[in-house]
Amino acid sequence: MSPPLLEVRDLTVRFRTELGEMAAIDGLSFEAARGEFLGIVGESGSGKSVTARAVMGLIQPPGRISSGSIRFAGEELVGRPDAELERLRGKRMAMIFQEPMTSLNPVFPVGEQIAEAARRHDRLSRRAGWDRAVEMLAKVGIPGAAERATAYPHQLSGGMRQRVMIAMALVCSPQMLIADEPTTALDVTIQAQILDLLRQLRSELGLTVLLITHDLGVVAEQADRVIVMYAGRVVEESPTASLFARPLHPYTGGLLDSIPDLEHTVEELPAIEGVVPSPFALPPGCRFAPRCRFVEGPCNASEPPLRPVGGRRTACRLDLDLTRS
């Protein structure tokens, strides 16, 4: 097996706040293989967006990477000067955001914005950069690309803009694309189109995709493998199919239970009781223990490590059978 494209080891990102310093992610480890479609799932505050920003080298004061390593294609990224990261960003790793409505600069035509990265990283002329932009717009499925390239963002729909964002991200043929909730702000039908586009581009370009989302449905359809995050830590890591068939961690189980079932009517949708613990008042043991149905004495004593279970990993010390029908 070839070495992973992205390898995150024991990454801790801390933020200084008025209440003191807190760890948004704490000892996070995962890897993504070349060409893999990896889903990162978690609720708000679980640290999934911070993870994405850390990998892109975008953590700025008051935040800092206090320990750990991020290796991309064998190169260490933590501690690299910003100028070197700038050469990497957009060229070898790219990112798209949640809000296609505001992710484009309103005062320039979209073609110019796509061409900007190509001109900077690939030293293309103005002309060649523009041609490349038009080519990319066609590739992401925008009809009449040459004409659309001259359009300003406000002249395009949300789905179109997200396509433009993808074109912008992929214009320099990066090896990895981080998509941070790319479909959250879109209509469901457009969501499906964008996700299909991502999958198609990924196989076409051999792209590694990190899809960050809180929507398990999105992950189920697209990802090869899923990482579930809770309170700044990985609680479960598993191939998508087995995650959905038999979750190992009660948190994953709870998330799956709270997805509405189209076949059966239920009085009340099961929810996970309680809220994510404040990073300033973390429980002494397992971070999920206060909300867990299966909690036992030792759960509250010490934090369970992420342990391998048949090619998967879970941060639950219990061997639960959460098999779903």
Partner: protein, 277 residues
């Protein structure tokens, strides 16, 4: 598109017309007023407006008021333009730096606050008096007074724009600070600045008149509107037109620029929209 919307904005068009009137008067000063604006003629002093030779009358020294107004317009507009350029450049520089690089924010903005603590016209008088009466010194004084305000406005919009998602998007595409500030943040922060600069133009015209009136502006016999009002104030009962004419000129210019600025604001900044076109 915005240009068409501007031209449909009735107040903007009114303001623009008034302002253009002054601009044309300044440019065509040599033609519309055949008289030398500084040549005195004691026999023709206090000619009332309406005289075929002196359309707007003459002043206490028999100088043609129309000629002096037109040449005064040159001085006022020249000062206005220079103040706008200086404040625009320095206000943008300081505002952008302190809005974008948060470490520079306090040092720069506290100095700006110190300038703003003085009443504007007092500070301008003090600076102009210290540097001596000349056109350039008036410009320096007014630019020093208006730069802090402009810097504040630019800083405020930079603070908003730098958090925009498209700035993040540019950063993940590998753009550095310079590129982001000049290419993405500033172009999106300019609308309020442009509006503010038209108002600063108006204030400068007014302030220059005040400084001239008080004798710290361009020295007489330079025809400035402020000088003209100062000259005429002793004869305000006998020959009110000497003060009235430059007063009207100042009003037209300031009113025109204000309407212009209001119109620009309505069109460029939809959130502030109050008047309909």
């Amino acid at each position: 598109m915005p240009i068409r919307r501007l031209l449909r904005h009735r107040l903007f068009v009114t303001g623009l017309s008034l302002f253009l009137l002054v601009v044309v008067a300044a440019i065509a000063a040599e033609w519309i007023a055949s008289h030398n604006p500084t040549r005195m003629n004691m026999r023709l002093r206090f000619t009332a407006p309406g005289d075929p030779r002196f359309l707007l009358g003459t002043d206490a020294f028999g100088r043609d008021i129309l000629a002096r107004l037109a040449h005064g317009a040159q001085v006022s507009l020249r000062i206005g333009v220079m103040v706008v350029v200086f404040t625009g450049v320095f206000g943008t520089l300081f505002g952008a730096l302190s809005g974008y690089f948060r470490r520079l924010d306090n040092p720069i903005m506290r100095v700006m606050d110190a300038f703003m603590a003085f009443p504007a016209i007092m500070l301008a008088i003090a600076i102009a008096a210290a540097l001596g009466p000349s056109e350039l010194n008036v410009v320096i004084a007014l630019a020093a007074v208006y730069t802090p305000r402009t810097a504040r406005i630019v800083r405020a919009s930079v603070l908003v724009v730098r958090e925009a998602e498209f700035v993040q998007a540019a950063r993940v595409a590998g753009a550095g600070d310079t590129r982001i500030l000049l290419g993405h943040v500033l172009p999106n922060s300019l609308a309020p600045l442009i509006v503010q600069l038209t108002f600063i133009f108006a204030y400068s015209v007014l302030a220059e008149a005040v400084l001239s009136f008080l004798g710290v502006g361009p020295a007489p016999p330079t025809p400035t509107w402020g000088n003209m009002i100062a000259d005429g104030r002793n004869f305000i009962r006998e020959a009110p037109w000497i003060t009235l004419m430059p007063g009207i000129a100042i009003s037209i210019t300031v009113l025109g620029l204000n309407l212009l600025g209001d119109g620009l604001r309505d069109v460029l900044d939809p959130r502030m929209k109050v008047t309909s076109s």
